[in-house]
Amino acid sequence: MAERSEASWLQRFEALPIIIVYALLLALFMYLSPGVFLAPYMYTTFLSTLPPLILLATGLTFVIGAGEIDLCFPSIIAFSGFIFAVLFKEYELSWLAVVAGLASGILVGFVNGLIIAKVGIPSFMTTLGTQFFWAGMATVLSGGKSYALRGAEESSVWQWIVGRPFASSSVDWLQQISIQALWTAIIVGFLWLILTRHRFGEHTLFIGDSNDVSRVVGIDVDREKIKIFTLMGFLAACAAIILTLENKNFFGNQGQGYLLTAIASVLIGGTSIFGGRATILGTVFGCLIIGMIEAGLVAAGLTGAWVRTVQGLIFLIAIIFYMYADEPQRRRALLARMGFTGKFGGARAAGSEGTALKRTKS
């Protein structure tokens, strides 16, 4: 009985450990640099800079939850960002440019899914290849140029997608609140519903758990995988457009910084690297932590060079933590590899089998 209830405190409250870690980190940074972390400006800046990361990481939560990986999204940010920027600036297509940008991301994602599900190449290889392909396409088509979208803030596209709804307010931090935070919250909230209580979300987690089981219970695994990668493409295109508009500039390698941070956010949030378990709430807090570390370290007086080091360290700690907390059989295997077989893992494993036997007799 004890064995059964053991793992569930973690699962009962979605993303509980990561929310606690977030609160502790926030408290630490507030203590270290009160001037920065107790003023509102830090948080209004997050509202405008974090949405692309959060959108990408939310898509990746589905991908990783299904036991796959996507390395292609940084180049979707370049490619779709380019499609959007050139149509918006050179052809002045306004909302049509937005539609075309989104469509290009959906197409790239769909092709990824097709190659993975129908041709059967592992997603790691597929998306590694398509990443180079689409990043190359973006460079070729743009001729390596960047596009400055000067005056974009006059357009309805800019106003609606990344506008500042309280710009005329008399409170200065209110003026800085950006509307993409709202769109992101709506999209992420909707996808949270999909993952936790829609058929598609359930299928995603079952596929991540086991492709074989999924097939025999009647899930069309290929079709669901194509859908997952198409969703990822769509979200990456959303991120691309928001990023391009927010910066009022397109440049060819604008997506490159997101590869590690987005994957790290998902895994820090508690989604299993082995698939089958995924949490969007955790992912959002993972993004907040990744974003906060960057701001917090700089505010604490460390150079920017430390940021990646600390992010990488937290990333590793988080993965090890989840492995221990969530997967007792992997924990035992790890302890056994490290030579703790005798007392630790072995005794516990034997103990739990003993109780299982007793149970079935009664």
């Binding site: 829609h198 758990d209 999924s214 097939r215 025999v216 009647g218 299993s272 089958g276 079935t360």
Partner: protein, 257 residues
């Protein structure tokens, strides 16, 4: 719980079924009829094609050639799927591939045929309520610390079989396919499974029972189908052969190759 008034001679009939995996000829010219109200034991050595046959039968693999009839009606092989098999009241309990490890029981009961609204959103409350009924009434798990929220990873092998079999019963199948349900089970658990197979027959359903342990299958089957290297080599009435004779026969079959 009684199946609908039968207006068919056989639940499943295979005619000339072939299955290739690349160059591997996994099933050769399979002709097999499963009648109503009979328990068919499927036996044969590892790699004889038992699992492949089951997967063709239940819509997981499409056959390379041949015909499948369900209730005397021919099924288009390219249209046949697990979902369709479910709709035709064919349920499968796989040895270790029926349940997803990290998912809670209530999701495992309903995945693939969720209780959902027309937008595809799952009615979690109802699924959990029905899952609770299956757990208590169909499977009979009481006071063993298993709830609908338990994850499969925390269950013993016997409990997993119980869950998968209970699911098949809940869906009121006419044909239940059991793929080595007693592998890795304790003696008391095996008893339960064998009793369950009898229950299937008593309720007028059919069952295909794949089993390594010849004593178990000999005890319950009405007919034994012997598979060797992708071919059906004989069909035996268990009354005509003791378990020892059956064992000798299978060993002789291996030597011949």
């Amino acid at each position: 719980m009684a199946p609908a008034q039968a207006d068919f001679a056989s639940i499943v009939r295979l005619e000339g079924v072939q299955k290739f995996f690349g160059a591997v000829h996994a099933l050769r010219d399979i002709n097999l009829t499963i009648g109503r109200n009979e328990i068919v034991g499927l036996i044969g050595d590892n790699g004889a094609g038992k699992s492949t046959l089951i997967k063709v039968l239940t819509g997981v693999y499409a056959p390379t050639a041949g015909k499948i009839f369900v209730r005397d009606r021919e099924i288009q092989p390219n249209e046949y799927s697990v979902r369709m098999a479910h709709e035709l009241s064919i349920e499968t309990v796989y040895q270790d591939k029926s349940l997803a490890e990290k998912q809670p029981l209530w999701r495992n009961f309903f995945v693939g045929r969720q209780i959902a609204n027309r937008f595809g959103f799952i009615d979690i409350k109802r699924e959990k309520k029905v899952a609770q009924e299956i757990l208590l009434d169909v499977i009979g798990f009481r006071g063993v610390g298993i709830t609908v929220d338990s994850t499969v990873a925390n269950l013993s092998g016997g409990e997993r079989q119980g869950i998968a079999i209970g699911r098949a019963m809940h869906y009121n199948a006419d044909l239940i396919v059991l793929d080595e349900p007693t592998a890795a089970l304790g003696v008391a658990e095996v008893r339960k499974v064998v009793d369950f197979v009898r229950k299937i027959k008593n309720s007028g359903r059919a069952c295909i029972y794949i089993e390594h342990n010849l004593a178990h299958v000999h005890e319950v089957a009405d007919r034994l189908v012997v598979l060797d290297r992708g071919q059906i080599v004989s069909q035996i009435d268990p009354k005509d052969m003791t378990v020892a004779e059956l064992t000798e026969y299978l060993i002789a079959l291996q030597r011949k190759g």
